[in-house]
Amino acid sequence: MESPTPADRGELEELYRLLAAVRQLDTAAVRWQRQGIIPGYAPLLGQEAAQVGSGYAVDPTRDFIFPTYRELGVARAVGVDMVEYMATHKATWHGGLYNPATTHFAPIQAVVGGSVLHAVGWAHGQRLAGPGEDGYNVALSYFGDGASSQGDVHEAMNFAAVMKAPVIFFVQNNGWAISVPTERQVAGGSVAARAAGYGMPSLSVDGNDVTAVLEATRQALAHCRGGGGPILIEARTYRLGPHSTSDDPGRYRSLDEEQAARRSDPLAACEALLRTRFGTPDSFFAGALAAGEAEAEAVRQGLEGLAPRPGSEMFDFVFQQPTPALKAQAAAWRTESEHV
């Protein structure tokens, strides 16, 4: 596979601004949970580069992203509205309020591994539709080391390889599936190593190096666009925070381990690269972080202003063509609960 051109200064600065925005949004979301603005959240602290670097490479006008529930960084990188995204964590609507058909970002998925097959089906659809001038549209399936234990993930990889579906299996190996470490989760120690068994190429990258992730994703996209079939990227990273705002990592890992992991902070790595390679000044970094803070504050205001959806929507979206029984239940609900 051909190596794409490394990120230039403009790209790298844009990546940093994205990383900073995602860091601010993510850490703010934990505060919002503590403040009672949202009932729960699954932090991605430490995984910013894996998410931003890959999301940045995607063309959301043609490609399609299949996330789980920890992909705020990808969503932000491809331009999903952050209030509409965070609506899932505010318990407004399970799938969030953004439109998945227009954003090309599938609804937030609670069953890990569940959406990996959806990515393969969508990608097979691109194969049936045929390539455009610039090759196939590509599905990106995000999942983790924990999800890699699911049978659906095996079925997805096998289907994709048999059908040569243009899909990137993007594995964020963050060391932990809630309380279970990778060595108790992934026999053999590497998800990427499994790709060979499916006759599929794989790339293993430092998931905390945003340029490495970007380049690997671009390489994988080129592979898929050209009809090479599926490919797997394993981004090795670390979940610095808890699994969710209800989790207590102190019960299963040591502070020493967390502090050691903090030494490979993806933002710090990107900042160091910008300083040494391009001499980017302090003011740029301060500006990026300030912009991120301002964005997070705007999202907080948006979330606080987000009213609950009307109860009638429980009934509205079950079917495209609602059934008489459901209409009757909706009518009864209106009479007895809304007193109309």
Partner: protein
């Protein structure tokens, strides 16, 4: 193929089938014909599953379709039901109308997450932005002396899932028209084919579907309503014939749609006959018969002369072929059910 399409009733039989001529088809032939027409009508319709391509399916329901429509529209998948159904979600998101086959009812169990948590919910989760026009064909129910997990009755499992519609045809005409309808619907439909009835022939009028919504009266009667679906409809018609010899006029209601259930149709019939017996192959407890009994009772309590009776399978795993005639409601057990209802006296 040709033997399933020719018909002695059709004046055009010698010249190949005319679209408007009544035909005599097996249910297999009717389903096959319907699938071909769905694929013709909708270029986005795709058929896939295990052995549905070159082989034409283990029941030959997709016979000849790959040759006719090509291996892109009718294709074999690897042997994995969750994969087949999960892939359907993505294909629907990409604008296709998937018509997957699960080879046997019991093989739907490995795909429950994709059917229940994904196909049944994606329209809801996405607030209507990602419709799931998935028509899942499931050869269903018992009666063919098949191995374990090749003769399950999954309707109670599926009808309890919001977001799924469930239908089961009783004869070739119903099979043809209901599959054509299901294959054009924008919502997920579980299409439960009574495999014991695949090879019985019957009239199919392609030009006159009749009403396809709700239940249908398969045989009118005035003393009692027998409610059934799938393969049990034919058995109930036999029972009605026998009961008629004793002067008992049994109405047979073919429920057809198991979700949504035609509560009005049930009530209309039961309020006329004032007695109802529901017959199903599935285990008794919390089976669909319980829901039907509740619906009939809610709507007809004052006119009913007896509690709604259930004649069903037992709360046991589906038995081996040697015992399946003991398990599936047979003529005697249905007649006993009728007798209990007719002899009921209010205390």
């Amino acid at each position: 193929m040709s033997e399933t399409l020719s018909s002695p009733l059709s004046p055009a039989a010698g010249d190949g089938p005319a679209a408007s001529a009544p035909l005599t088809l097996s249910m297999q032939g009717a389903l096959n014909r319907a699938l071909g027409e769905v694929l013709e009508d909708n270029p986005k319709a795709l058929i896939f599953g295990e052995d549905v391509g070159r082989l034409g399916g283990v029941f030959r329901i997709t016979d000849g379709l790959q040759a006719r429509f090509g291996a892109e529209r009718v294709f074999d998948t690897p042997l994995a039901e969750s994969g087949i159904l999960g892939m359907s979600v993505g294909l629907a998101m990409a604008g296709f109308h998937p018509i997957p086959e699960v080879q046997f009812d019991g093989f739907a169990y490995p795909a429950v997450n994709q059917i229940v948590s994904q196909i049944g919910r994606m329209n809801y989760r996405s607030r209507g932005a990602l419709p799931m026009p998935v028509t899942l064909r499931v050869p269903s129910f018992g009666g063919i002396r098949a191995p374990e997990l090749h003769g399950e009755s999954l309707e109670s499992l599926f009808v309890h899932v919001p977001g799924l519609k469930v239908v089961s045809p009783a004869d070739p005409h119903q099979a043809y028209h209901l599959l054509r309808l299901a294959g054009s619907m924008p919502d997920p439909v579980i299409f439960m084919e009574p495999k014991a009835r695949y090879w019985q022939k019957g009239p199919v009028d392609p030009a006159d579907a009749g009403a396809l919504e709700g239940a249908r009266i398969a045989r009118p009667g005035r003393h009692l309503t027998l409610i059934a679906w799938g393969a049990m409809v034919a058995r109930c018609l036999q029972v009605a014939e026998l009961a008629a010899e004793d002067g008992i006029e049994v109405e047979v209601l073919d429920l057809r749609w198991l979700s949504p259930i035609d509560a009005d149709g049930l009530a209309e019939s039961a309020s006329r006959t004032r007695r109802a017996v529901v017959v199903h192959e599935a285990p008794r407890s919390s089976g669909l018969g319980a829901e039907i009994a509740a619906l009939v009772t809610e709507r007809c309590f004052n006119t009913l002369k007896a509690p709604v009776e259930r004649v069903t399978g037992f709360d046991v795993p589906y038995p081996s072929g040697d015992l399946e005639d003991e398990y599936i409601p047979n003529i005697d057990r249905i007649l006993f059910g009728i007798q209990r209802v007719l002899e009921h006296r209010r205390g």
